[in-house]
Subunit: 337 residues, 2 copies
């Protein structure tokens, strides 16, 4: 047998379409669970939750659960509730994130905290988080509960870690990667792993899907970080330069700061501490991240994680599902080419 | 056999001492779990959580789990982790409450949101909430997970319900009781019920303990509400008049408003909407709640719930544990006599 080696030389215009098609039947069921289970006798709850949930997110995490279930040829439907549970955890996190960051726009709409205020946004996040556990309990797998309760604690730790690192330009690449591994990649990993649990596959399959999700999550986040400085890029609903204006020390900044002159470092320190937020400052920052190779190297790091995600799938036979999951990685890392 | 009827004619100076003594060995173990499991590699987490957790709360909810386990002669130790889990849910709720209310003092200390800010307080609450589910998953009872995940969702719904009712003087007694049943009593009920689950007792024992906890929780909350207007009362760390100054339409206000003249109603509307917050206004409000019998009747409602809590224990034999749990009810409702 000749091994099929999939390497990350993206085809022209990779897209999520194959994964969306792969998961579409399942996702209809998942969306029905989401809609049903965000209801409450307290009208503000579905109103506020629905604003974000209906607001045009890709539902990438539940889609990964569904794609993973297809990869394993799982014939059942248990993953529908669990995928909805994953999306509720994600939505709760986004609601709390927007309060924590004081964000006013997400996915091209006003954030819930701007429309309904911080108190309601915090509390509806808590509701969705509780509801996500109710869904898991209904499914009844202690293994899934363990995976997702652990992921939730790791996400919260990652968020606090990020908060204590905020407006510091010199946190270093390792700590930054720790933060995004916790706050972003942990839920990607869990979303994929639980498919192996419901399909009753062995630890090796669980670990492979966990690794796929985790590395894809890191790749996605790094590309998001790079795109914020790549003016010709599709912007995924983010205004270009948002991270810069918010003083976020993402990887492009960390690299550009580390590689810069004394003057550059002072510029970055001033910027991240909030003293340089003009358009001219953004233009200067964009020049620095390009000249130091920080943008290209952030994309390169993302490609490495993307390749790891693809390699993690090596234990599975090459099927339509696997090819769709590979193209999703290519899409993730190719967004700014 | 002659039935032993326990009726709520409080002894002189009832106290929590008997319940504290009953639960003390268990609570040492619970406190060790709490201390151990609030740790994290992110130093801000134990610092912020520890501020509230070490801040002199009575730990009434985990104590109720332990007392209930004693009542049932449960010989094991599973309830230690679960009682810690209950306290983590409660602590997470308090942290988020203080953010939602913009509170600056709790239990005589500055609140976490004042010291570390809203963002960190929201996120550490999320962490404790996730950690509470990790503890439940370690215990491994799906029945307990169901009880506590449901209680968590009900609490969050109650909090949102309260938020949408805020600064409205005419919400009515029924809606007010709905709110405190959700936001306060649901966790008291769950804390007691789970003891019957770990002790593997039947549904009847579960329901009895649930009822004891639920009614005790409502009684506690109503007495807290009344004490806020009862100037000669022990104040449980709350400044007298706090609810009034915060514009909270608690039961004494709802009753005084319903029973008042047109002028009185206008006064209450102005007060709850935040236009009357002076010491003279508080004095006037205190006079109105006394003259209309609103204070005495709030205490009377609390005594009714207290009696229901005691009657719920009727199915259990009279033991030291039961007598301690009865005295806890007497303490709850007698605090302002």
């Amino acid at each position: 047998m000749v091994a099929t080696v999939h390497s990350l030389k993206p085809r022209k215009d990779p897209s999520l379409d194959a994964m969306i098609a792969l998961a579409s039947t399942d996702m209809n069921a998942v969306n029905a669970v989401i809609l049903d289970r965000m209801q409450s006798d307290i009208p503000l709850i579905p109103m506020l939750a629905g604003h974000l949930i209906a607001g045009g997110g890709k539902r990438l995490r539940p889609m990964l659960t569904c794609a993973s279930a297809r990869l394993l040829d799982y014939p059942g439907t248990r993953h529908h509730k669990l995928a909805a549970s994953v999306e509720f955890i994600h939505t709760a996190t986004l609601l709390h994130d927007d309060v924590v960051d004081g964000s006013d726009m997400r996915r091209g709409s006003k954030t819930a905290n701007i429309i309904w205020g911080n108190p309601a946004t915090v509390l509806v996040g808590d509701f969705l988080f509780s509801r996500s556990f109710e869904l898991m309990v209904e499914d009844g797998s202690l293994k899934v509960l363990k995976i997702l309760s652990n992921a939730s604690a790791v996400i919260a730790e990652g968020e606090v870690n990020q908060l204590t690192a905020q407006r510091q330009v010199d946190i270093g690449e390792d700590r930054y990667l720790d933060i995004i591994a916790s706050k972003t990649a942990a839920l990607f990993a869990a979303a994929c792993r639980i498919a192996a649990v419901v399909a009753e596959r062995d630890e090796r399959a669980e670990d492979a899907l966990d690794s796929y999700g985790r590395n894809l999550g890191i790749a996605f986040q790094l590309v998001d970080d790079a795109i914020d400085y790549a003016s010709d890029a599709a912007t995924m609903g983010k205004g270009q330069g948002d991270d810069f204006r918010d003083g976020k020390a993402t990887l492009p900044v960390i690299l550009a700061h580390a590689r810069g002159s004394d003057a550059d470092r002072q510029f970055w320190k001033d910027a991240i501490e909030g003293r340089r937020v003009s358009d001219a400052d953004l233009a200067h920052a964009t020049r620095l991240v390009r000249e130091t190779g920080a943008i290209e190297d952030t994309f390169a790091r993302a490609r490495t994680y993307g390749q790891r995600a693809i390699d993690a799938l090596g234990v599975f036979p090459t099927t339509t599902a696997k090819l769709a999951m590979i193209e999703a990685v290519e899409f993730a890392v190719a967004r700014a080419y």
